[in-house]
């Protein structure tokens, strides 16, 4: 069972909810792995304090041109959508920082003049935090492509048990890569015009991917009723409302998980854990 915790808007409490949920699940007898897919700024480790046991490089294949074999036909430049190759009158130049590693140029080269060389763009780190499995991707500094790192993290996810994927904010490629193929998307939002605006975009993306989603409203007693009205209109299931609490904010500011530091918080999050476990049982029946 793969559950993605997403939001649209940043700062709504995705990582807080994802880490707390992941922390509670192993006690229910389910092997669980927390996966930080926010590879540009993974920070779930601050809450979970995992022991990292293994680190693997993530690389993308970039073209290397054999000038002896190249006839300057221009096919490679024609197929490259990212303009990572420049076909000049007398030679072909490669711009590795623009290359997405699709391999198209090597496929269309009629002379076999293109070989591929790996270029490291990030790392996947594995470890554990108590009973909880831990995985995170980290994009290398200066790199622009998050999706190859997210793909690599997802490939490292165990086949069995519950997997909680902490998604990046937004609705662009990194989010799509994270939520693609999951069983359920939980959107953490806040009841403000900003939360609503971005929630609509994220729900649109989730629906386009044919996924089901439910809503957690964080700091539910601030702001306005816009998010709830929208959820009702759209038939979206609000499975949990977490009221605003200064104690939660203080725990967060110390890097402590509210399920451990704030009385009553774990009881609230158990409702979300129950919803996940119900889905696991339903999937087992099927």
């Amino acid at each position: 069972m793969k559950v993605a915790i997403a939001s649209g808007k940043g700062g709504t409490g995705k990582t807080t909810v994802a880490t707390c949920l992941a922390h509670l699940l192993p006690a229910h007898g389910q092997p669980t792995t927390y996966v930080d897919c926010d590879v540009e700024e993974p920070n779930g480790h601050i809450f979970l304090g995992p022991r990292i046991e293994r680190s693997e490089n993530v690389s993308i294949p970039i073209p290397v041109i054999d000038r002896e074999l190249c006839t300057n036909c221009g096919n490679c430049c024609e197929i490259c959508r990212f303009n990572a190759l420049a076909c000049l009158p007398k030679k072909v130049m490669v711009f590795p920082s623009l290359c997405h590693g699709c391999g198209g140029c090597a496929l269309v080269c009629p002379e076999g003049a293109i070989t591929e060389m790996p270029r490291a763009v990030g790392v996947v780190e594995r470890g554990s935090a108590g009973d909880l499995g831990f995985l995170q991707g980290r994009l290398a500094v200066g790199e622009a492509l998050a999706t190859p790192v997210i793909r690599a993290v997802k490939r490292a996810v165990p086949e069995r048990g519950i997997v909680i994927l902490d998604a990046p904010p937004g609705t662009s490629c990194p989010v799509v890569e994270t939520i693609r193929g999951v069983d359920w998307v939980v959107m953490v939002t806040e009841p403000t015009p900003f939360g609503l605006n971005d929630l609509k975009l994220a729900v649109g993306a989730v629906r386009k991917l044919g996924l089901t989603t439910s809503i957690v409203i964080n700091r539910s007693d601030v702001g306005d009723s816009g998010v709830e009205d929208y959820c009702e209109e759209e038939g979206l299931d609000v499975i949990l409302k977490i009221p605003h609490s200064r104690t939660v904010a203080e725990a967060y500011a110390r890097g402590e998980m509210p399920v451990l530091a704030v009385p009553g918080y774990a009881d609230m999050l158990e409702k979300l854990a129950d919803a996940v476990l119900t889905r696991v049982r339903e999937a087992e029946k099927r």
Partner: protein, 120 residues
């Protein structure tokens, strides 16, 4: 001598476009015959990434010796230099003014990109 000038419009009287990769037009001028030709750079304007690389390969393929523009980033500069094209930046005014200045030897090529890239 063939010169490519980045331009906001297709005419010799159009203003020089300060951008290279995403310039609206390239006006190609042959200083010997006085003939000019306008190349629409819509594919550069719309490029997701590598607009400078694409534009540089395109003008190099047209056999120009000089590129006149406002600014030129590192990838475009490397591509143009790799093709043996000289780059003159900080050019303003109309296309015909710019060509006149080159003919009179008032402008000299740059030896480096004058702005940062967008992706690197």
């Amino acid at each position: 001598m063939r010169i490519a000038v980045t331009s906001r419009g297709p005419e010799m009287t159009s203003d020089v476009d300060p951008r290279f990769g995403r310039a609206k037009w390239f006006v190609i001028v042959d200083t010997e015959t006085g003939e000019s030709e306008a190349i629409d750079n819509e594919s550069g304007v719309q490029a997701g990434s590598g607009a400078g690389v694409q534009a540089a390969a395109r003008v190099a393929g047209l056999g120009v010796e000089y590129v006149l523009t406002g600014h030129c980033g590192p990838n475009a500069f490397r591509t143009l230099t790799g093709a043996g094209v000289e780059v003159i930046t900080s050019v303003t005014g109309t296309v015909e003014d710019a060509v006149g200045k080159v003919k009179r030897g008032e402008l000299s090529p740059t030896d480096a990109a004058d702005v940062n890239g967008h992706w690197t």
